[in-house]
């Protein structure tokens, strides 16, 4: 909690009203802690689904490290996140609570970064802090980022990547070395995101490239061109070295090799295309953006029968629908202003939505969990006032 406060003070040192933001962040940490104890009330070795699996794999990773296996030779399953947790277990002992607390810290840090992104986009402090706090306290975010799931790290990396991209394009006084280091870090984050979720390369990389392309068209700054070309090279390299080589064994894709369906890459790609063609695309998009529908919420296995949890998720769903409607105004404003950074974010949201709608299983709780990744960028758009203000300004000069 001290670290959370320290990070808040450091990040918002120029903001006079930062104290409230930090107080709310601490409150969010406390919520995370309480939730951790509730989730693990029946012990850490039985609770959860993915979180439990990752915890068990991480223990195995820790055992390998203790037995002298070097880090690069460690065998792990499902996701690279298990190695991260495994390293933590190896260093500090096996403790799922501690791993969950690290996730909570990353979630709060993501909230800070989101607030700072909003501030750097010239939003008022009130609005930026509101966005950050919604991110911190939205129930699904609390749940997905508390357990030993990879979501917390995945969201953090995604937000950090967009944060760095914004800093690189905004900061005019940085030295070439600093710019180069940050661009390099963005590429590393793309690599790590791909390790965590294979398709993140295309959503994050694609969104960044769209943003940088329009940015370059608008400003003609050489640093943007260098940044864009570097990201493009990184994306191509990662596609061939990571995505295509790991596609067969990626557990979240349908009909992979381990299911005995396909034997080679062509078959795997064919099966993915077949899955997409078989889908009713508007219905799939509907599913990804709106499920679980209100009457479906009590069918989610993990919360079924828990009246309080069901009610909270239902309220969150209604708020999410309102957020989506408000975000439409933000999209319209971005298109009017042709803001390259926000256009990049829209590209990220659209590509992430399409990929998940088309490839993910048609399962309400899977959609609910996967969708959490676009909550942060959507919050940046959810305001109807800028478009009205802009229209007013544009029309006033023309009447």
């Amino acid at each position: 909690m001290g670290l959370t406060a320290g990070c808040g003070l450091l990040l918002f040192k120029r903001q006079p009203k930062r104290l409230w933001l930090i107080v709310f962040a601490e409150l969010a940490m406390i919520c995370h802690f309480i939730l951790t104890y509730v989730i693990f009330a029946n012990g850490t070795e039985a609770a959860g689904t993915d979180g439990l699996i990752y915890h068990q794999v991480a223990k195995d990773v820790a055992r390998q490290l203790w037995s002298g296996t070097p880090l690069w030779a460690v065998k792990y399953e499902y996701t690279w996140y298990t190695v991260m947790v495994g390293i933590q277990y190896a260093l500090f002992g096996v403790n799922r609570f501690a791993a969950s607390f690290v996730n909570s810290f990353l979630a709060v840090l993501s909230g800070y970064l989101l607030t700072d992104i909003a501030l750097k986009l010239n939003y008022s402090f009130k609005k930026a802090a509101f966005i950050g706090n919604v991110y911190l306290f939205i129930p699904s975010m609390l749940v997905w980022t508390t357990d030993t799931r990879k979501e917390s790290l995945s969201f953090f990396i995604s937000i950090l990547l967009w944060y760095l991209a914004l800093r690189i394009v905004k900061e005019r006084e940085w030295s070439v070395i600093k710019q180069g280091l940050c661009i390099g870090l963005v590429c590393v984050l793309l690599y790590v995101s791909t390790l965590l979720r294979i398709y993140m390369l295309f959503t994050l990389g694609g969104g960044l490239l769209v943003g940088l392309f329009f940015h370059y068209l608008k400003t003609k700054r050489s640093v943007i061109a260098v940044f864009g070309v570097t990201v493009l090279i990184a994306c191509i390299a990662l596609t061939f070295t990571m995505v295509l080589t790991n596609l067969n064994d990626y557990h979240a894709l349908p009909m992979d090799r381990s299911q005995g369906g396909d034997e080679d890459l062509d078959d795997e790609l064919e099966s993915i295309i077949k899955t997409i063609i078989e889908k009713d695309i508007p219905r799939a998009v509907n599913g990804f953006l709106t499920r679980p529908h209100l009457e479906e919420v009590d069918n989610i296995t993990d919360i079924s029968g828990n009246y309080a949890a069901v009610t909270i998720v239902r309220i969150e769903q209604v708020l999410w629908y309102i957020c989506m409607i408000l975000a439409i105004f933000g999209f319209l404003n971005t298109l009017l202003e042709w803001d390259p950074y926000l256009l990049g974010l829209i590209a990220f949201i659209v590509s992430y939505t399409l990929i998940n709608a088309l490839i993910s299983e048609n399962v309400a709780d899977t959609y609910y969990r996967y969708r959490a990744a676009i909550i942060a960028p959507m919050l940046l758009f959810a305001d109807y006032r800028p478009v009205i203000r802009n229209l007013k300004t544009m029309l006033m000069g023309k009447s």
């Binding site: 029946n42 794999v57 003609k220 349908p254 709106t290 629908y321 319209l332 803001d339 048609n362 009447s399």
Partner: protein, 613 residues
């Protein structure tokens, strides 16, 4: 204002209802149900049970895990032996999720066991993405038979009361350890209104329940001679037959109100689903027609606006352009390039002001950028002949002058390279551009009729864009997406309607024609309007029109003026005029482009004035 807020709130509530409710109608059948539940129970002589449960799921919209509740009473232990799930048409054995068994892919068939006080929760993980899924679970329950002095009792719940979905075709077959007289076997079935219990033979009893709804449950109870389970632990050596039969009589005579209520609720739910499905179908059909109709209507509005704008036929261009209406260079740039290339507007305006005597021009030699044009404000007080934007630019030149009183375009570049300077430059740019729009707007005034069309177009376009985002997602229809591009096009077209007015189109055509003639050297100085024939003014207009590579006419005009500056400009062999313009343009364009990514905050920029010095 309050009323607007109220309307906005109500609209928001309605739209969120659309998201929340309509998809619910659309997906009404996706809650899975169990189409078949076969249970085979073998009672062992030691009082334990060997059970095989086979469950088939239908209407499986997709799931990655299923849950099975296994009844566990006090003193019993449940031992899961095997779990199978159907995959690619055949059964595969699932692995239990526990330490040391992490080599299997979790979603290709694994299970976890969670022990609770009164049940064991078995979760099977797999890709249940097809319409049909099935699992088979083999398990053993130790000490499940209660052995009394006169009778042995088997009592188990197979479908719990809180099971949330419908279960169909429940068939339970219980085998006793040994044969006995059928009259001594007494089966009972609880929790459902319709169901059958049959003693099949001397050692088998079957229970058949056609279906259960949420709120019902299936509990089986069998009384049989206690000597059939000789190795079972004795629960109580007193006689219990009478009291158990009395309990059953009481159950038989009970009103079973809860079960009736559950059936009633299920019927209502089925009715609601059927109604919802019908409504959803209707809503989708109506929305499809509405989407197509709205898109066509928008296209019609677009057509009407265009027709309204272009009712005059195109007229041929005159050979000379002496009567050309005067626009400032910045306005010309706005007309021909929609404001793109701010550096050109900027430099063109400066040169135009120099031609009017508000600025002095000189050439400064720079190492890094090459020779550049530099400017200095003159003492002229009046602003005659200047537009609002040019007056603002004049203040700008004064504010950015160096110690010697000259404004160097490279100073802009230096400012654009710092965060604070870039922000300031952006603010200046926004205000300057607003004034250009104002200047041009005064000349290109919309007629009342066009204002009506503009507002109609904006409203219809904006509404269509919003509906194009909501309807196809909420109702899952392709046709709805058509409203997105149509709405946005209508919105943008209406917003930029001034570009398409007769005046706007005429100006665009005329200045494009002038550009063509200048590029092809097909116009003489005498054929230009008098306010453009001055060398610096013509240079400024050439720059905004993008014809600075053909400077023959400009040089002629400069030579005519015959002053020292003009001579410097055209006679310097080391830095010809074209290079001088190229260098200056490159610097101004770069500086003004660099700051375009800074977000616009109109509240901040409104009425932005320059601080001198």
């Amino acid at each position: 204002m309050h009323r607007i807020r109220k309307i906005a709130c109500m609209l928001l509530i309605f739209l969120s209802w659309l998201f929340a409710e309509v998809p619910a109608l659309a997906e009404s059948n996706l809650v899975y149900s169990i189409s078949g539940h076969d249970i085979n129970v073998r009672i062992e002589a030691d009082g334990s049970l060997e059970i095989i449960e086979s469950i088939k799921y239908t209407s499986f919209g997709g799931y990655n895990n299923v849950m099975l509740f296994i009844d566990k009473q006090e003193g019993e232990t449940v031992d899961i032996k095997n779990v199978y799930m159907i995959k690619n048409g055949s059964y595969i054995e699932c692995d239990q999720l526990s330490a040391g068994q992490w080599d299997a892919n979790v979603f290709s068939g694994t299970y976890s066991v969670i022990e609770e006080d009164s049940a064991v929760r078995l979760k099977v993980y797999g890709a249940f993405s097809k319409r049909n899924g099935a699992i088979v679970v083999k398990y053993k329950v130790h000490d499940a038979i209660k052995r009394y002095g006169d009778v042995a009792e088997f009592r188990r719940t197979f479908v719990p009361k809180n099971w949330g979905s419908r279960v169909n075709n429940i068939n339970i077959l219980v085998s006793l350890p040994d044969y006995t007289d059928t009259t001594r076997i007494r089966p009972f079935l609880h929790g459902v209104l319709v169901g059958r219990k049959t003693v099949e033979g001397k050692n088998a009893i079957s229970f058949n329940v056609p279906d259960t709804v949420p709120g019902e449950y299936v509990e089986t109870r069998i009384l049989f001679p206690e000597n059939l389970v000789p190795y079972a632990r004795v629960t109580d050596d007193r006689y219990h037959l009478y009291s158990i039969l009395q309990e059953e009589e009481e159950y038989k005579d009970s009103s079973k109100e809860e079960l009736l209520k559950a059936r009633e609720n299920a019927a209502k739910e089925a009715g609601r689903r059927a109604w919802a499905e019908r409504m959803n179908q209707r809503a989708r059909i109506i929305a499809t027609f509405v989407s197509l109709g709205a898109s066509l209507l928008a296209i019609f509005i677009l057509y009407r606006i265009r027709k309204e704008l272009h009712h005059l036929m195109k007229t041929p261009f005159p050979l000379d352009m002496r009567d050309l209406e005067k626009l400032s260079p910045a306005e010309v740039r706005r007309v021909v390039a929609n404001g793109r290339g701010r550096g050109r507007s900027f430099l063109g305006s400066l040169l135009h002001m120099a031609s009017l005597g508000y600025l002095k021009v000189a050439v400064a030699k720079k190492k890094d950028t090459g020779s550049l044009l530099i400017f200095q404000a003159t003492d002229r007080d009046s602003f005659e002949g200047l537009t609002l934007a040019e007056r603002y630019l004049l203040e700008w030149v004064n504010a950015f002058k160096n110690d010697e009183g000259w404004f160097e375009p490279s100073a802009l570049l230096a400012r654009a390279g710092t965060n604070e300077g870039a922000l300031q430059l952006k603010k200046l740019c926004v205000t300057w551009e607003q004034r250009i729009v104002e200047d041009y707007g005064r000349k290109n005034v919309l007629a009342t009729r066009l204002v009506f069309y503009r507002e109609l177009g904006l409203l219809a376009g904006g509404l269509l864009f919003i509906l194009g985002c909501i309807i196809p997602v909420a109702l899952s229809i392709w046709a709805g997406y058509l409203m997105l591009p149509v709405g946005f096009t209508l919105f943008l077209y209406s917003l930029r309607i001034q570009k398409h007015t007769d005046y706007g189109v005429k100006q665009h055509r005329t200045w494009k024609e002038l550009k063509r003639r200048l590029l092809k050297r097909a116009i003489a100085l005498d054929n230009l309007p008098p306010w453009m024939t001055d060398g610096l003014a013509l240079l400024g207009y050439s720059i905004v029109l993008g014809t600075e590579k053909q400077l023959g006419l400009v040089e002629t005009a400069l030579q005519k003026a015959n002053d020292s500056l003009n001579k410097t400009l055209i006679e310097d062999e080391q830095e010809p005029l074209s290079r001088l313009i190229k260098n200056t343009l490159s610097v101004t364009d770069k500086a003004l482009s660099w700051v375009q990514d800074i977000p616009t905050d109109d509240a901040t920029y409104q009425g932005q004035e320059l601080a001198h010095g």
